[in-house]
Amino acid sequence: MSLPVLVEYILAQEKSGGEPLTTLSGAAVYIQNFPASTTSNFILKPDDGEYAFFLYRALWDYANIPQAFSVHIQHRGVRTFDGTIHEVVSNFGLDGFLVVTEAEQFFSQVTNRTNVAQRISFGFNWLTARTREDASLVQEAIKRYGGR
């Protein structure tokens, strides 16, 4: 299953009034001086007026120093990625959408393993569903397509 094709399929879905069911969105995070031997948790959740994110990609900047950071990603209590960043990584092995809501937030823990401050940047892509009903329709569309 090619996730980008499924993303395009969902983006093409419309509500009964002709409005798009979802919007394509994302975020980029940039830290110039991540302190040495330090860990921080980062939590991503929908903004006000948004119900759910269907997160389909998480990626690192190619310019991150190899082996400098370890990352632990957890969603709904399940570890989805755990490792050391040593090259351009995208998707973190995601083979399906992570549904992120206010109640089920996206949790990541980032550690600078080195003894000097390092720059780091990473990003996410997702589809936004504004209401619970929209999110249900997205989930139906995913099932209809044979995805998960």
């Binding site: 969105s25 994302g26 975020a27 980029a28 995070v29 940039y30 830290i31 110039q32 001086n33 991540f34 302190p35 330090t38 860990t39 921080s40 948790n41 980062f42 939590i43 991503l44 959740k45 929908p46 903004d47 948004e50 994110f53 990003g123 996410f124 997702w126 936004t128």
Partner: protein, 54 residues
Amino acid sequence: MTTPTPEQQKMIDAAVKASQEKLQPVNNPVIVTVTGGGKITSSNPLFKIEHRKD
């Protein structure tokens, strides 16, 4: 090199003590620049999230 007199040593010790008392722990904030949508928060109080909308 000469050895300080007891008076000079006392002045040096007092100066060192005074300067050490002024020392503050280093708590420079770490600026986290975020662009795009969603809400991103950090558990570490040193990390200051700045959402850029430009």
